[in-house]
Symmetry: C2
């Protein structure tokens, strides 16, 4: 959620309070979490828009997150749930939705009678291919804006940071 501070709507009324905002509470607009959020949001927005333009009007953010945590070899519902940090019931619903829409399917897990594997249908795999087109385009645009090397190092830094965050939960 936390989103782009509206440059369009300048702080209203009292110039005094507005001053306080700029000083003591300026951190609210510049802290790393917010910056990350805003850029990520821009990415998501552009990606979703591209998918829509390719005809994927039935794919939501939540759908994408489920698809993102499904591997081609098949993934158990429980693992999707753990991965997204949601309940198995929630994962079950979302998967059901994507199965109904034709992107995913479920097959019994041969190695465990209780479990079933969530896999991609042909339509689902085609979606992945289309999604990559959009992602590539956005990355190219970012790289143009930042310069190739800065963009590359941004990726490295994030990767590095992620390793630390995963090691220190």
């Amino acid at each position: 959620m936390i989103s782009i501070p509206s440059q369009k709507t300048p702080p209203p009324a009292e110039a005094n309070t507005s001053q306080v905002d700029k000083d003591a509470f300026a951190w609210r607009h510049h802290h790393i979490g917010r910056l990350l959020f805003e850029v990520q949001r821009d990415f998501q927005f552009r990606s979703l828009a591209q998918l829509k333009s390719l005809g994927y009007t039935d794919i939501s953010r939540a759908s994408i997150s489920v698809i993102a945590s499904t591997s081609l070899g098949g993934t158990r519902l429980t693992d999707i749930a753990k991965n997204l940090d949601i309940s198995k019931q929630a994962a079950s619903q979302m998967v059901k939705d994507l199965v109904d829409k034709g992107y995913l399917s479920r097959t019994p897990d041969p190695s465990d009678g209780r479990a079933s594997l969530v896999t991609f249908t042909d339509k689902g795999q085609q979606f992945l291919t289309h999604a990559k087109l959009g992602v590539d385009e956005i990355e190219a645009r970012y790289a143009t804006w930042l310069g190739e090397s800065t963009f590359a190092s941004l990726r490295e830094v994030l990767l590095d940071l992620l390793e630390h965050t995963q090691a220190n939960p």
Copy 2:
């Protein structure tokens, strides 16, 4: 949503398909949007945990986003909605919730009879102060992991990128 690829649960079954996953679809795990999302998510998680430990158990992600788009000088509901890119009705509900919880209040806008300004209560301002503590701690931790200068340049790069994204919607 889109979350950390589960290192705990290695790709199951067919080594073949898993190979495909690693090659043709490796981008799913490394593209910039995903990296941004995961780091941002870590930040959010840590921040929320700290707020909980300080006793803020009634603050959700959505609450934070509303608080983040409210300025000390007062913000109109419409501006909050625009800012978060949600409907006025949705914003209204969330603000009502935070007013009920004592963090925000609404006062009539002296300059416009239709509008009212959403402002912080004392409790709300205290919350901001507490939130800053947590943010500072997380940033310090990230800086330790990355090195001060890399962390500083990460912030610069994100800021730079944001300027471009905002200029090219």
